[in-house]
Amino acid sequence: MIIIKIFYAFISVTLMGGILGIGLAIAARLLAVKKDERVADIEEILPGANCGACGFPGCSGYADGIVNEDADITLCSPGGSKVLAKIAELMGKEASDPGQKMVAQVHCRGNRDTSTYTYNYEGLNDCNAMQAMYKGDKDCKYGCLAGGSCIKVCPVDAISRDEKNRIWVNKDLCISCEKCVVVCPTGVMQMIPYGSDAIVACNSLDKGGKVKKYCSVGCIGCKICEKKSPDGGFVVENFLATIDYDQKGDRTGAMKGCPAKCIISAENASLEIKKIEDKQKVNE
């Protein structure tokens, strides 16, 4: 009795398996469709969980998306970093060399405490929108408008705002996409090398006297930095100091000597960022 049952089970399931297997094999041969090889390769790399976590219909959909629709390659959460690395290799998207990584930084520290303002702005918190209205509410027409457009576009949330409404970039999170630089209407967001130790935190091309009137932390073009740190790569042109980061000389003299205190050290910037991030465990 038991034996017969096992026998039936054996026969029926084996038959089913055999027939279906053969059927599938035949079908696969008859109905074969050519695919982009890279799609197949990526499909191979992907975990095949078909979970849909990437937002695509299954792993093959995502593979297709990567190859044909330029989808972001970081979406597969089951696959994790290993899969990501393999896909990146296959697609020729390599992570840049950290030594030469460029990061964004805001070249302005002006805020309500240090600068004067022209009018009472009401409306959209967006730098491009503010820029369209008399170039923003600050008397300085070169500075950061603090509308936070850069914060909105940064894909990795590397940019944050402190309680004084100043904008800081966390250079460790920045992936050099330059989206913030593109969106910033005033040009105060600029790319600098990851390792740079100092930043001239001013962007104003106005004459020293005028700058002094509207901003206590603005560059007045006094050239003290050039003198105090002759190898620091400081160049003052158009009443504004800039740093040639290819020159690797010492810049501490300039930082200390700057009467406007507008040359800030990268360390200080990092400290400020840490302060913000410690506080804002949840941002909006």
């Binding site: 009018y119 009401e122 959209l124 967006d126 491009n128 929108a129 008399y134 909105k152």
Partner: protein, 443 residues
């Protein structure tokens, strides 16, 4: 009031406040000693100044030359010396080069009898050239160079010439006064335009809150034996916009993204018509215009005929100054106008009004998140969904906004006017369009 024509969807009814100035006859404004003439007073590329500091200019002399197909000529409103060429802010917040003229010497026209010339023998081409050389731009708000508008594209025929006497913006009464006081000139102007574009029908649309203007134009048309159809319209903002006006008077819709010419229509503002009359018949370039100075904080609201380049401060002073500290000074109407912070901003060709508003009129309130009340959608005359558009723009999804019609938005302000949450919807639309245009897009 039933049976009056109007456009069918959207629109709002802000308090008109026209009584403040509608019974004040147009008065010539005092000419200020210093005139600041912006080189960008029209749609399109700015004019190029052809004078240098120290040059002596005469009233009506060409000082800025049109620089392209869509551009305009600019003339000196006063005789005097060029003091400097400087950078100034226009009321709309943009920068422009400007010629600063210190008044001195004798006026060529002011106070003198003007001579009427006969224009009927002139061809369309010649008339257009006169309009161009006198720097006439649309005075209805868009400041579109009039000569360009009247140059019909090849193969197109104008079916309608629609004159825009709607003046739907609250407070403003400049066009209203013009229609009352200069009805004959306007009729003559219409004839000039008609002889250029040869339309089948002539229509003027006027809202019913200007009944005397309707009468005055009807009579003038009768006098001049012009087959002009004076259409009374229901009061509804933004009926003055050409698309809504055409919908109201002709029943036709200008297709999305197209100009009125697409449906065989040409629209011109009554002020523009008057300026054309003055240019063609009197040979006078566009150096002055009628401006309504009004608002709750203005002591004595008036309609002033002011020279281009006059500082706004001087016009306000002429109306008795402020009765109380205004919260906003607006150039243009309250629905589409721009706020200024510097009262020395000069009048331009597009300045239709100057309003000093009190906080009671402005009715600001705390901004909150959108509560999806849908009022903006109901108010939008273009059938757009402002709240969704704004949300896309706020999330930097400009392409999605474009897909649902961002470019159709004409910034009429209806949605912002009704928004319960006080969301700066129109600013968002402008931002979105700018970002799309400059392709600085996509997070």
């Amino acid at each position: 009031m039933k049976g009056l024509k109007t456009f069918n969807r959207g629109g709002v009814h802000p308090p008109g406040k026209k009584y403040l100035s509608e019974n004040k006859p147009i008065k010539n404004a005092v000419i200020s000693d210093l005139s600041v003439i912006a080189m960008s007073q029209h749609l399109g590329s700015p004019a190029e100044s052809i004078v240098n500091p120290g040059d002596i200019v005469r009233e009506g002399m060409l000082i800025g030359k049109s620089t392209g197909f869509i551009s305009g000529n600019i003339h000196s409103p006063v005789p005097g010396t060029v003091k400097e060429i400087s950078d100034i802010y226009l009321p709309n917040g943009m920068t422009s080069k400007a010629v600063v003229i210190e008044m001195e010497g004798e006026f060529d026209r002011l106070g003198k009898e003007s001579i009427e010339t006969n224009w009927e023998h002139l061809s369309g081409k010649e008339l257009i050239e006169i309009i161009n050389s006198n720097g006439i731009v649309g005075l209805g708000g868009a400041t579109f160079p009039a000569n360009v508008k009247f140059t019909l594209p090849k193969g197109k025929k104008a079916e309608y010439l629609v004159i825009n006497g709607v003046e739907c913006e609250p407070y403003l009464t400049a066009d209203h006064r013009l229609m009352l006081e200069k009805a004959d000139q306007i009729i003559e102007g219409i004839k000039i335009i008609a002889s250029i574009i040869k339309p089948e029908k002539l229509v003027i649309g006027i809202e019913i809150n200007k009944e005397n203007a309707i009468e005055s134009l009807k009579e003038a048309a009768l006098r001049a034996d012009l087959p002009l159809d004076v259409v009374s319209l229901k009061v509804k903002y933004p009926q003055g916009d050409e698309k809504q006006l055409l919908k109201a008077v002709t029943g036709k819709e200008v297709p999305s993204g197209a100009l009125p010419m697409e449906i065989g229509c040409v629209v011109s503002n009554v002020g523009t018509v008057n300026a054309i009359y003055e240019a063609v018949v009197l040979g006078k370039p566009l150096i002055e215009r009628v401006i309504t100075v009004s608002g709750g904080a203005i002591k004595n609201p008036q309609n002033l005929k002011a020279r281009i380049g006059t500082p706004i401060r001087s016009l306000i002073e002429e109306c008795g100054g402020f009765t109380e500290e205004p919260v906003k000074v607006v150039v243009g109407g309250p629905m589409m106008g721009f706020t200024i912070y510097d009262l020395d901003t000069p009048v331009t060709k597009g300045t239709s009004g100057i309003l000093a508003l009190t906080s009671r009129e402005v009715r600001g309130a705390a901004q909150t998140a959108c509560i999806s009340c849908g009022r903006c959608i109901a108010a939008c005359p273009m059938g757009l969904n402002p709240t969704t558009l704004f949300k896309y723009i706020d999330h930097t999804e400009y392409d999605s906004a474009e897909n649902i019609g961002l470019m159709d938005c004409k910034e009429c302000g209806s949605c912002g006017y009704v928004c319960l949450a006080r969301i700066p919807l129109i600013q968002g639309m402008r931002l979105g369009k700018r970002m799309l245009r400059t392709k600085k897009v996509k997070a």
